[in-house]
Amino acid sequence: MGLSNFVFPNDVHVHWSMMIALYPYITGIVAGAFIVSSLYHVFKVEALKPISRFSLLFALAFLAFATLPLLLHLGRPERNFNIMLTPSASSAMAGFGYIYTLYGVVLVLEILFIYRPTLVELKHQTKGLMKLIYTLLTFASDDLSQRSLDLDHKIIKFLAAIGIPMACVLHGYVGFIFGGVKANPTWSTPLMPVIFLLSACVSGIAGIILVYTLIRAFRHQPIDMDCLRTTTNYLAGFFIIDFAFEMLEVFSHSYLRTWYHHSVNALQMGPLFNSFWVWQVGILSVLPLLLLGYLCLTRVKDSIYRILAPLVGLMLLMQVMFMRWNVVIGGQLMSKSHRGFTVFHPEWFDREGIVAVLIVMSLPLILLFILSKIFPFWLEDEKEPAG
């Protein structure tokens, strides 16, 4: 290696840029938020009831924009429907069109069924455009008899149950997109789908903690501490497993010392040293782990908890972003010649540039705000809590 930095002539270009790092980030948040909701709806974790509906809407807000980073990345976005017309059975990426559509249907239906009593009630209370919206959302049916609610209940359980494996596939296949590329030593590992999925759960739960505490604080409403503590416990659990797998990957390679290791090691000790060891592992993994240990294993006053929990949430959101960056972009820095590295220069105003990333990341939050006007987030805001 050393002096001779030789990059294959075509390897100079980094083809998968920030949008491709952003796409798994968004679907990861979707999967994680869905898991939080399912912990209540399927696994009956009562403490999570207050955020069970909010997390579904959170998931929907992000799912709605999941295709945007991909469309911004494609060389020919006008041909994007080819993925629905002629998907190739051997390509992990081809799963996208159908998995996304089916999961979107499941998520929307689950939200509509859970909210149905509330929406019917709101239909009667509103006029004009809002009334029309509520009529459409309840499929013009007013029936709230016990039979109807029982049927709804069964359907909700079914949707929530199949929603879990579907959310896992929605995000797991992305991990396989990378894990299935044998030509790239940083990517091709069977652990890749697992790491992606676990970090997805982490990012979703962390996102919910952060946004929940911020919204409640902003509206001067009380935070349900039992809910917050339980969610943080789950966050800690998922993160410990996620971090363990991330480190297992690195350490098993460095122990086995194969040809692949020597290449990947040069990458992680060289161009990626700061973003991987210093940031992803040091500041954004070890530090949050210590904080989570403090929060979950010791008695912490509510006032401190309310500040540290969202802080940890923010740090872990950043950790997952760094992980995506290091895998997607970092993985392309090493040339397939195994003899050199190329460099990545993020542009500001490119189609896949920094400004575009910031816009795409803020759109789901704007949609979440709009959704809050149609679907009440919190159960105490409604007259009849149900689901």
């Binding site: 429907f81 629905m84 017309l85 002629t86 190739s88 059975a89 249907v105 239906l109 149905r116 309840t138 499929f139 013009a140 049916s141 007013d142 029936d143 008899s145 039979r147 109807s148 049927l151 359907i155």
Partner: protein
């Protein structure tokens, strides 16, 4: 219409069925006809690739018009070199059998750079049995020639040893070949 306890479910299922049907029909209509003939791809793409414009023809095509150079070229050591390498692609010169543009002819220093591209011994990896290499300016000095000389002042670019051999015959070093 009075809703029953399951009307909303019925309407949802109906909506999904319509969605799937429209999708299925759309998929059938929009998929290209030749897709799937040989495999999971559009079979017409093969013939499309096969009918791309051929831009560089062979030396034989140049020689149909340039017979003078052809005869010299074919007898010399440069006969394995493509005319188009130095003079650019045939398709830029001839369209539908007509001469549409003059082709580049290297001059002066361009010739020197072009020759050294292959014949420079300083690059090393050029095996003796494959190609004769020289080191500049020692080559010129050893031939007792000014070091500002261009290669083609002694060597015919199409047959590099043509004049060298002729000169040797005249002087008596070499038998007539």
């Amino acid at each position: 219409m009075k809703s029953t306890y399951y009307s909303h479910v019925l309407r949802i299922v109906l909506g999904l069925v319509v969605f799937a049907a429209v999708g299925g029909i759309g998929k059938y209509l929009l998929t290209p006809k030749s897709f799937g003939t040989h495999g999971h791809y559009r079979a017409d793409a093969i013939e499309e690739e096969a009918s791309l414009e051929i831009r560089q023809w062979t030396n034989a095509s140049c020689m149909t018009c340039h017979q003078h150079e052809a005869l010299i070229h074919l007898k010399g050591l440069h006969r394995t070199i493509s005319c188009e390498f130095c003079h650019s692609a045939y398709a830029d010169h001839v369209k539908d059998g007509k001469n549409v543009a003059a082709m580049p002819v290297k001059k002066d220093q361009e010739i020197r750079v072009l020759c050294l591209r292959c014949h420079n011994r300083a690059i090393q990896a050029r095996p003796k049995q494959v190609i004769k290499t020289v080191v500049m300016p020692e080559h010129l000095e050893s031939q007792k020639v000014k070091i500002t000389h261009i290669c083609n002042q002694c060597h015919n670019v199409h047959a590099p040893l043509k004049y060298i051999n002729r000169a040797k015959e005249i002087v008596g070093i070499q038998e007539k070949t």
